[in-house]
Symmetry: C2
């Protein structure tokens, strides 16, 4: 594509913003120094000819996507040394620049890999395989495997999920039975449903994996444990005896990864291949229990906090694309024969996009909170201070679910807001969607996560009934309820937050009472739980929503930005809070908490906020500072040259490289001009 | 896959249903004779070895998907004669059996093609190209083109949408300028945005198209008209001079279709190539206006009624898959160590799936209504009775938007309800989603459609204010409003429908008053409209929702089924009505129409209905009688052998046909065991 100037509509938008974009970018990414470093890295990555010569992913077959991902991995590995990239931020950002929508964070320090978008085939090796050895292996085991793992001689994955079991780990069926005669474990997939299914990179890439299996020794099952298993030869990559391994076939997205299946038939591994830092099996088969079973709590919190950040990224990217495109796209007419307005001027478009933009900011602050809370929390755990862990754990589960759902559904709205062109891979939006939506399922299915939150809330409610003090954020459950909202036409943040508290507290109480009444009328506890679970879901959702609103408000109130930036952010935060009430109005007014008059204030305020945000909409997405190379979108380009880009995208399609497609000779010409058949009646 | 018996859980579900599935199937498809015929056709199609030997679509590249679609087209054409298939129902059903999720109805009689799922490359030839000639061509023009079109010597498409213009047709920029010297039109794409973009089969398949362009003659623009254009040679398929044509590149779905772009540079076509049945350009360039400009009204209604039916199909298919799978899938435990329940027993799963099942039935009845209304309406149009046309037109626009959105979002919920496996193409669900979701955009973008409904409603409201009688369904706008709902714990249909009427009437009034107040305070009409458009959207949506509820209720009340079938359908209809209120509660209680007590009745009733529907859920989806061959889903199989199917799907993946993938030699082995690099810090 030739060099073009910025689309004048987009240039105008940037002129008319009421605040300085750079200030907001600095606020988002932690100061001008960090922003400068991001941009340096991006520049290097964008100028590297290696990435430019790769075929665009949407024109690749699944096998080509996989092949490109491996090629990129190798090139990234080389480049990191050459470019002297260091530290998590540098590496993460470099990787996200060169694998658009695939910025899988690989973080040995924190010990886990989350795959926000399309994961590379080696991500799980660095993100889960190595960390598992580091955390669960003995000193000898680390000595034995880590060096070859780092040199990629052995490449591994984490084989947990089975065809029949995902989130519910206790149900896993793979067995590891200890044989004291040979001092080996015998691994088996005893049922069809026990076949490992979904682990990343299991199909073709890796030659090792950590298998999660039920440990049997001396005739007793001791629950799930982890075992090191070699699946392929280090000499020629052939599959070892007793093992059937392959890819699981094509998916909605994730083409870069060879998610695989694994069937085990009497595969023997040495006793030493059980990761024995915590639990042990002695030579004679005696089982030694772990000292502390809560070790993995912190890791889960970390993984979920990463998902919140990635939910933000996905929604932010989608907002950049759809809002820039809506400023460029002109359509229809409001006055007959008049100029066609930018579609961003239609109130209906603002109604769909601006609340999502506000949500992206809310998710950004929620992600920040979770990272900080995780770091502080893990320091406390180190010191043995575990009081806040349940609250943090519940919040991380809830925010994982709340934000992954908000981002996924929001990305699709952004896509549909781009009309027909949103359906083309050229928009970049389908890829973002298929990359973020599995976050609703992996690392804990969202409904299950929300019910974990609910279980915690029910405990809090009981504590409150028994007069105990509730910790930190959940203390609102014990506050004396207002009957009527304090809201007037000024819609202060304080009254808005109180409304969310009221709603959450009411729904928590309603769910608790429903449970209690079922139990009193003779239902067993598990049945009462199930028969209240939709109400528990509502309560948990309201709790998470309250957190996002309150946390956004607190960030705004202590913001260090300049006054014009703060003013815009304040409007965005108000929109997030007000729109959330209007979208869930029934839950707020079921008990008459808000009057008709107050609802009218909220509606009027929402429409007014659209007008305040309108001139700043493009600047608010520009502030995310996401380069074109990451967006990979013809519609979301910084220069707004949308139509030229769409035309170029079409022309480079593989099917356009010949004037006449081969099917003309094989399928079309042979049937031209036959006797007219009944088909014509169709 | 080997022959297997039915999964016992699924067999049990079928035993425990309280009604006879066959009765409901007969009710849905118009009696036992029609059901028998469907099944005969399905049997023939499913036994045809041609279809069995095609590679499953999800393992095909986009080019292979296109090639397979052409091969199928040719085979279908042959088969129709051989099998003596006749009439729209036969042909449509045969085609839907052999092109799963691609049942593009080809209906010359009604003159339009709607592409519900993946359209074949020749669908638009039969569905739009030929009908356009039939309807808009003169006798000579039909004589000239139709025979070769039916014989497929000429293959055409309908080139309307441009890069810069979709729903707003007046904005199209392609020009057709008459040159009286040569008696030709000169076709041009004067701007980048005027390039035709998206027309089906334009890229590689077709050699002709109908171009929609602005007609210029004698220095005046006369608006959009249709022109016959040959794009490729009939001898060798080469592209003709002045024409640039190709595919637009890969999309979210629709891999079977070569949607294309077309750029025209001074392409001259004879004067006779303008379709001149209505408007004419004489030899000297004189323009003759059409007699009647409302001809296409009926066609639009037809197309939209087809979209309603297809929205039903998509949602019904997704419900079949997710409900059968939820009966087979067992997960987690309610009692520690107890048997894992079917996930369909979880109230949270019921809360997500049963309202969608109810919606599928509501959409089914809405689609039926629209077909009948269209047939009756077109007879009246023939007789010149045009009174009901505006109401029908508004309803068709509204239901197109309401149902395509309900189905699209519902299909994704069904997919996510299947957990991780829902993300695999093996589930069939991603394909259904990407096939139905463009219906929110094509044939009139949903927001634009809803605003058309709103325009009609505003007119009705004005008529009411002026004391005019309102026609048929919209007469509720003029009913004297109740202040309080009549609902008691029995939740009669009559009170439920009245609640929907109240909500719609209130929102219509609120939008109208908002507009009037803006106009009174000096806003120009177009600005008042835009500033009220979100409220107009709410009003239109409530209107369409009311229609679906009321129409469902009316069908239940006059149902010809047996009593046990009716009882279940009644529960489904109640759930649809009650759930719709609870999901939009704010709109129903904003003005205090429902009391807290009444809301409690509704909530209790919803949970109670889940228990009534639970034993019938599988039977209710079985009744749709959708064969496995159409579902193409490992999770939704009639026999419930889900895990065997998933295992088989994985094993047949192309990447599993060799033990070691070629990338091992090219990408993995070369980098094994290098010096440990900084990458390990990632």
């Amino acid at each position: 594509m030739s060099e073009l100037s910025v689309n004048p509509d987009l240039a105008n938008e940037r002129l008319n913003a009421t605040f300085d974009v750079e200030n907001l970018t600095n606020l988002i990414y932690g100061g001008p120094e960090k922003v400068k470093r991001r941009r340096q890295i991006h520049k290097v990555a964008s100028e590297d000819p290696f990435y430019k010569k790769l075929k665009p992913w949407s024109y690749c077959s699944v096998e080509e996507q996989y092949e490109n991902a491996l090629a990129k991995h190798n090139h990234i590995k080389e480049s990191i040394d050459k470019l002297e990239l260091n530290g998590f931020d540098d590496l993460y950002y470099y990787k996200s620049c060169v694998t658009p929508h695939e910025p899988g964070p690989l973080d040995v320090h924190y010990g886990m890999c989350v795959t926000p978008h399309e994961p590379g085939p080696l991500d799980v090796h660095y993100g889960m395989f190595i960390p598992t050895i580091e955390q669960q292996g003995t000193a000898e085991q680390k000595e034995k495997w880590l060096a070859s793992a780092y040199s990629e001689e052995i490449k591994g994955t984490y084989a947990q999920t089975e065809m029949g079991h995902g989130t519910f780990l206790r149900g896993l069926e793979t067995t590891a039975t200890y044989d004291p005669k040979t001092k080996e474990f015998i691994l088996n997939s005893p049922t069809l449903t026990s076949i490992k299914y979904w682990p990343a990179a299991l199909g073709k890439t890796t030659n090792h994996c950590v298998v999660v299996a039920q440990l049997f020794t001396q005739g007793t099952c001791h629950g799930i444990h982890t075992f090191m298993l070699q699946t392929r030869s280090l000499v020629d990559h052939s599959v070892l005896p007793g093992i059937e391994v392959g890819v699981i076939g094509n998916k909605f997205g994730f083409g870069t990864n060879d998610n695989g299946y694994l069937k085990l038939t009497n595969v023997r591994i040495p006793r030493d291949n059980m990761l024995m830092r915590y639990s042990k099996v002695l030579e004679d088969g005696t089982y030694i229990k772990p000292q502390n079973s809560k070790v993995s709590y912190g890791v889960m919190v970390y993984v979920r906090s990463m998902i919140v950040k990635q939910a933000f990224s996905a929604l932010a990217e989608a907002c950049v694309i759809s809002i820039r495109y809506s400023a460029v796209r002109r359509q229809s007419e409001t006055v007959p024969g008049g100029i066609e307005p930018q579609i961003l001027d239609y109130q209906t478009q603002q109604y769909r996009l601006f609340p999502l933009l506000a949500t992206a900011y809310a998710l950004y602050f929620a992600g920040n909170y979770m990272s900080t809370a995780y770091s502080e929390g893990s320091q406390k755990i180190e010191k043995g201070q575990l009081e806040e862990l349940p609250q943090l754990h519940a919040l991380s589960a809830g925010l994982k679910a709340f934000t992954s759902y908000a981002a996924s559904s929001g990305v699709e709205v952004c896509r549909i807001c781009c009309g027909g062109h949103g359906y083309s891979q050229a928009s970049g939006l389908p890829k973002i969607y298929v990359s973020v939506v599995p976050a609703c399922t992996y690392e804990g299915e969202n409904t299950v996560m929300m019910l974990q939150v609910a279980r915690y809330l029910m405990k809090c409610y009981k504590d409150k009934q028994q007069g105990s003090q509730l910790p930190g954020f959940v203390s609102y459950i014990a506050e004396i309820p207002q009957k009527r909202s304090c809201m007037d036409e000024h819609l202060s943040f304080s009254c808005l937050v109180k409304a969310y508290k009221h709603r959450a507290a009411r729904l928590i109480e309603a769910a608790a009472k429903q449970m209690q009444s079922l139990i009193q009328s003779g239902s067993p506890a598990h049945e009462a739980w199930n028969k209240s679970s939709v109400q528990l879901l509502w309560a948990a959702n309201a709790h998470c929503h309250l957190f996002c609103v309150q946390n956004f408000v607190e960030n705004i109130e202590r913001s260090s930005g300049d006054s014009r930036t703060n003013e815009v952010l304040k409007a965005v935060c108000q929109l997030y809070s007000i729109h959330g009430i209007l979208e869930n109005l029934g839950e707020f007014i079921h008990d008459g908490f808000l009057s008709g008059q107050q609802i009218d204030y909220l509606q009027k305020a929402m429409f007014k906020l659209f007008e305040i945000i309108r001139p700043n909409a493009v600047a608010l997405v520009d502030a995310f500072d996401i380069p074109d190379q990451v967006l990979q979108s013809c519609l979301g380009r910084y220069d707004g040259q949308v139509y030229q880009a769409l035309y170029d995208y079409a022309r480079m399609a593989p099917m356009n490289q010949t004037e006449i497609h081969s099917t003309y000779y094989t399928h079309l010409r042979p049937l031209m001009n036959p006797l007219t058949s009944n088909y014509s009646k169709l």
